[in-house]
């Protein structure tokens, strides 16, 4: 199995940490050189990260529905599609209400690129190997997004409604993580 699938958490944690480490620097250097702006975390960029994070898991779920024949994995995938679609609808509605136009940033683009690479690897798998790769990735991904919420997005959000959305969505990610871990235990050989 490839390293991306075996340790996707490392990639997402590295991403989260890189954003977390960049943010204080950019806050202090808002009027500095333009290249520093690339790392600046604004509400518009946070909105784009939230939308990307949810869309990634919807797409992961669609892949699992297409490839897995295991009922527990398929049910979990359906739940991910249902929940993350719903969160995105709420996030998009809030952004529209606040007149915040989600803005892509290196962080959101990196998140999407990493997820696409992971899915490419998973597409080449089948049967039990796919189930394990998908569920392992779900465990790692949800943990990484929770870390991202706690360490970067919630502290970085300026608008109180956006901050509230980020706080309110956390329990869903935690429940998904626990559910994924539960399935993970059943898939261990």
């Amino acid at each position: 199995m490839n390293s991306l699938i075996e340790s996707p958490r490392a990639a997402f944690v590295a991403l989260a940490l890189s954003i977390a480490l960049m943010t204080p620097l950019t806050v202090r250097a808002e009027s500095a050189a333009p290249e520093k702006d690339a790392a600046k975390l604004t509400d518009a960029r946070i909105a784009a990260i939230v939308l990307a994070a949810n869309t990634i898991d919807v797409e992961n779920g669609n892949l699992a529905i297409a490839k897995s024949k295991t009922s527990s994995v398929r049910d979990f995938a359906k739940q991910m599609i249902r929940d993350h679609t719903s969160v995105n609808e709420k996030a998009a509605a809030l952004a529209a209400r606040l007149n915040v136009v989600p803005e892509k940033s290196p962080a959101s683009l990196s998140l999407v690129a990493t997820a696409e690479t992971t899915r490419d690897k998973m597409r080449k798998l089948s049967g039990a190997a796919f189930d394990r790769a998908y569920v392992n990735n779900e465990v790692s991904y949800h943990q990484a997004v929770i870390d991202l919420l706690d360490q970067t997005l919630v502290p970085g959000a300026e608008n109180k409604d956006l901050k509230a959305l980020l706080v309110n969505v956390r329990p869903a990610f935690v429940a998904h993580l626990e559910h994924a871990k539960m399935i993970q235990r059943t898939l261990i050989k």
Binding site: Q79, R82, D83, S86, V87, K90, L165, N168, V169, P171, A172, V174, A175, E178, H179
Partner: protein, 121 residues
Amino acid sequence: MKGGVDRRTRCAAAVIGWAFVAVGAMLFLGTGCGASRARVTHRVEIVAMRFEPAVLHVAVGDTVHWTNEDLVPHTATRKGTFDSGDLPPGSFWTLVVAHDGVLDYSCRYHPVMKGSIVAGS
């Protein structure tokens, strides 16, 4: 004449008797209405992946009103007894509790979410 008097007496007695019965019945019903507990609607909020309150004490005949204040769809389900069906964010569902007992329930989509209705008579 005697028979007529007796008949009138019996009629008067009957009227008075029925009046007492009617008044007694009204008093009984009135007392009954005053003593019976009014039906209550209890609210359960679904928020942050939990039922709030998780344990709800109700009387038989009361209504439980669930509102999904969360960001994702949920259900209030007790297999074989009741099922709200899909509750998208912002929607609600009500149930009249018909029997006493403890009704444990959960969300069909998120089995970690558990609630309980404790119904007494």
